[in-house]
Symmetry: C2
Subunit: 287 residues, 2 copies
């Protein structure tokens, strides 16, 4: 049996009781460690589970999944995923491959950032499609997120923006020379995300995510040090120190916001006076 | 401290290790039992936790929340919620009230149907806003869901439809006579939901959810007996026997579906020939 086990959002104790029982009985335990990360290192998980944990990087999962599935028609194999196992596309692939090989699959769900973000006080019912934001480079600034956010905004919905993480990345020079030397991991911050949104807005000028658009910056959702701030995108550009270490996410507010949502998020406002002024002018319009 | 603890989707072992530790140490433990239910009775939870669990019905949570919060500035109180604590609006209210009373609040996230539905193989990124479907009566047939689904469909997105549950409901006669006698709980099925969607479509005729629209019926998501079927809304009207007992949910497919999604859900098709024909004609259009 292949078990896909969600680990939740924060530390080793966010696994479910059911998930922990699975991990303890499996012959091999893999940890998917490139679409998201927990706030604790692999060694903490190993000592908590009393088990060796094999890190599965993108290459292994996408190009060598048969190694993960090896012999799992006969022995139990656990594939651990931060958040919920079906948060990322990759794992659907793994299940499809297991189906081809007639390997039974069982899933242990857990909290995902897609639902955990509800802790910021915005109603999950009022979210449109989720978008991803990658690190811009000098010659690669993909702006497809802008069209998606625009679709959400036109019907008044919030948008969860998941920000890039880069783990096990090679520098161009090391890649060119074939040296398997990896750069330190990089985690996009709310400030970087907000700045890139404003940059694309200044190019497109369709009023989708302006300097004055309200948003929530979220850090370490579901963890003991969870932190939310609320402000304009311009204010959020400079709020990384308040938010603290990764992982970050951002929510751009939709106009169809409810007063209950306002009451909840106002507590997180960087500047309550500014928040009230902008809310009054632009938000809380029931459609 | 007030702890909001998510219980996940299925049985007593879906609580996280962190959540179980909280439940064991709290002075009082409440179970919110009206926006959703686990697949096991309260008594199973009590024996698993080794603790008394107080059922909090809608009236208690909405009108008498100060009883739940009583003394929680000094002792720890746990409020257990099926799924994730922020899945339902009600609990935002409870936190706002705790804030007023200067009671610290801590949240233990868990799987929610809003993310757990990803197990059906449709990508969470491709979902628009979530809608609710209530039991229609002779003179109450709210159709606001139709407009919301229409918004999602127009931009090609999937829609999760959460179906009604009725617990602790009085009959009109018992209510009129002031008798506190409650009807047996009722859980809407995928078949009932699909039939109501078709009914409203036949009235509105905007092509939002026709007999031939593809959808997924989901039962007991996250549980050992989890079951998915895929078919047209008309086919799903008669698939309740295949799906089995509650809880059910439905996903109406959006047209911006990916081939990987098709490959995954085709396995669940009630009629693969029909599925292929409709998919080919109407779905898989990248926008």
């Amino acid at each position: 049996m292949l078990y896909l086990v969600g680990l939740g959002l924060s530390d080793e104790t966010d696994i479910t009781v059911k998930g922990l029982e699975v991990v303890k009985k499996c012959a091999r335990v893999y940890l998917e460690a490139y679409t998201s990360v927990l706030l604790v290192p692999k060694e903490t998980l190993e000592s908590y589970y009393g088990r060796e944990v094999i890190v599965a990087d993108r290459e292994m999962v996408e190009s060598n999944s048969d190694e993960i599935l090896r012999d799992s028609a006969n022995v139990d194999v656990a594939f651990l995923v931060v958040g919920d196992p079906f948060g990322a596309t990759t794992h659907t692939d793994l299940v499809l491959r297991a189906r081809e090989l007639k390997i039974p699959v069982s899933t242990v769900p857990n909290a995902s950032i897609m639902s955990g973000i509800g802790a910021c006080g915005l109603q999950l019912y009022n979210f449109g499609q989720t978008v991803s934001m990658v690190f811009f480079t000098d010659n690669w600034r993909p702006a497809s997120f802008y069209d998606r956010i625009k679709e959400n905004r036109e019907i008044g919905l919030h948008t969860l923006v998941l920000v890039d993480i880069k783990v096990k990345e090679q520098s161009l020079e090391n890649m060119a020379r074939g040296r398997l030397i990896y750069e330190p991991p990089r985690y996009m911050t709310v400030g970087q995300c907000a700045a890139q949104m404003i940059e694309v807005e200044e190019d497109r000028k369709e009023g989708v995510c302006t300097k004055d658009s309200l948003a929530i910056g979220a850090a370490r959702v579901g963890g003991k040090t969870e932190k939310f701030v609320c402000g304009t995108l311009e204010e959020l550009c400079d709020a990384d120190d308040i938010l603290g270490p990764p992982l970050h996410s951002l929510v751009l507010l939709g106009r169809r916001s409810h007063e209950l949502e306002r009451d909840y998020i106002r507590e997180f406002a960087l500047n309550k006076e500014n928040f009230d002024k902008i809310w009054e002018a632009d938000y809380g319009k029931q459609q």
